[in-house]
Amino acid sequence: MHKWFGPLHVLRGVSLEVQKGDVLVILGPSGSGKSTLLRCINLLVRPDKGDVFLEGVRVTAPEVRPEWVREQVGMVFQQFNLFSHLTALENVTLGLRKVRGMDDETADEKGKALLQRVGLARKMDAYPAEVSGGQQQRVAIARALAMDPKAVLFDEPTSALDPEYIKEVLDVMTGLAREGMTMIVVTHEIGFARNVAKRVLFIDEGVVLEEGTADEVLLSPKHERTKAFMGKILT
């Protein structure tokens, strides 16, 4: 996959594959193209070259509606991006009601179940600005799950959080992984990568430098730049 922003070549031939039910963690210094890669996968950004396949369907084909793709692939953002004018429950159910055309009763039921799952049933009537960052991010996860996605993309889900809230979000994500959700996670949380990730990818300057199991990439990196990066984040 390739992506240019003007003259800037952000993705220079990244290629990856995730099996159903696997968790792939992507590491890399900032500006290495991780976010862009995720955004290309659910077509928030269209890759300039290369294709995305979802269960064998080439979703980058021009006749495929990007909305359809995004329904199948959930996304959780670094800044949560909850809809600030809607309550937690309305945030979770918006897609069900407006994209799926589900009636309010059914959507509410499903939304409540999802909020329960992320441990926030009591906050369903709260507005985003009224709850903590960790709670916002959990609502955001519930929102992504509402569409019954085939995979969920996490774009540094804990980077904007105060340390005390990181664990609750990671716990939810770990639970999700154990239940067999397919996940692609951009994160700097090494512990999470080691516990949960089936495979780890190290990206720098738009290319994959290293790929393997968590321990392979984290503990015995082959590449100089990977070593330098690991040295920085592991200490």
Binding site: G74, M75, N81, L94, K98, A144
Partner: protein, 325 residues
């Protein structure tokens, strides 16, 4: 927070402050008024005589302003939307429109339009009709530019992440606009839109120069027929105030209604309304106007609770707070 929170200050105190304040102002005004009037009393008879026609003229002022304002809102929204576009070809004409209308005095625009209309006189209109249309169009065009800027600012105030999130759950462009961007923009746009209405109402006084029989024109006419200047000016001032001041109240009310809990500088100690009655912005755009407007008017959020659900088959919005789990 060991025990109960202290009670929120009773409204009666605020009310008392207001009454006291108004009483002081009235007292001072009364003293001044007496000091002046006792030397040279106002011609109350003349005032009573011209009042009906001034009131009628005020009606025209209000009517033409309201008409031009809302017409300008439609056009202004479209132009504001254009201005917030990423594409330069879309943006450019909107920018020219706004700059041209914002960069020249309204008075000059009015004179130019009047000159054009009287020179070409499309449709061979009668003079009275022609000036009326001229005045209306001038107000309409002028306000469209200002409102375009307001809407542009409102649309651009919505964080890009909100759009990303809307698209990420599969909403298409229009649906994201309707369900996410607009409801958030409305909040930002209400206060400046109201300013604009007041500014437009005051600008409508200039229509008197092309002899539209609005409030200011009527006042000038009355004085030229020998009615006393001071008395009439007082009435006119008062009538303008009567049109603008209540508006500020109405807008304050809407602002409070459109408030999103947790946003803004102050954590207001507002009692939480029952579920499904808040976030009017969302409801107005996303879930139909009728309930929202009815609630706004009645100020009784639960008033529509039961039959509303029956009528629309949407129990969810009307369920009383359960506070279950």
């Amino acid at each position: 927070m060991s025990e109960e929170a202290p009670p929120i200050g009773p409204r009666i105190e605020q009310f008392g402050e207001k009454v006291g304040g108004i009483a002081i102002i009235l007292l001072i005004a009364g003293l001044f008024g007496y000091a002046i009037l006792s030397r040279k009393p106002l011609d109350v008879e003349a005032m009573a005589e011209v009042f009906p026609e001034l009131l009628q003229a005020a009606g025209l002022t209000l009517g033409i302003t309201v008409g031009a304002y809302f017409a300008g809102m439609g056009l202004g929204f479209l132009i504001g939307w254009q201005k917030s576009s990423r594409r330069r070809m879309v943006r450019a004409p909107a920018t020219v429109w706004v700059e041209a209308l914002r960069g020249t005095p309204f008075f000059v625009q009015l004179l130019l339009l009047n000159a054009l209309m009287s020179y070409y006189n499309p449709g061979d209109l009668e003079i009275a009709t022609r000036v009326l249309i001229t005045g209306f169009v001038a107000l309409f065009l002028n306000t469209s530019a200002y409102q375009a800027e307001i809407f542009r600012a409102g649309l651009q105030s919505v964080h890009a992440g909100q759009v990303d999130a809307a698209r990420a759950i599969g909403l298409n462009h229009w649906s994201a606009m309707r369900n996410v961007i607009l409801p958030q923009a409305v909040r930002v746009v209400v206060p400046p839109l109201m300013n604009e209405f007041i500014a437009l109402l005051k600008a409508s006084a200039l229509l008197s120069v092309i002899s539209i029989r609005e409030l200011t024109y009527q006042a000038k006419t009355a004085t030229s027929f020998g009615q006393p200047w001071l008395e009439i000016s007082l009435i006119v001032t008062l009538l303008y105030l009567l049109m603008t001041v209540p508006l500020a109240k109405i807008v304050g009310f809407f602002e409070r209604r459109f408030r999103i809990p947790g946003l803004g500088m102050h954590q207001e100690p507002v009692a939480r309304r029952a579920r499904g009655t808040r976030s009017v912005a969302a409801r107005t755009f996303g879930f139909g106007v009728s309930d929202g407007v009815r609630n706004l008017l009645t100020r009784r959020p639960d008033a529509t609770a039961t039959h509303g659900a029956d009528l629309r088959g949407r129990g969810r919005r009307h369920r009383p707070e359960t506070a279950a789990d």
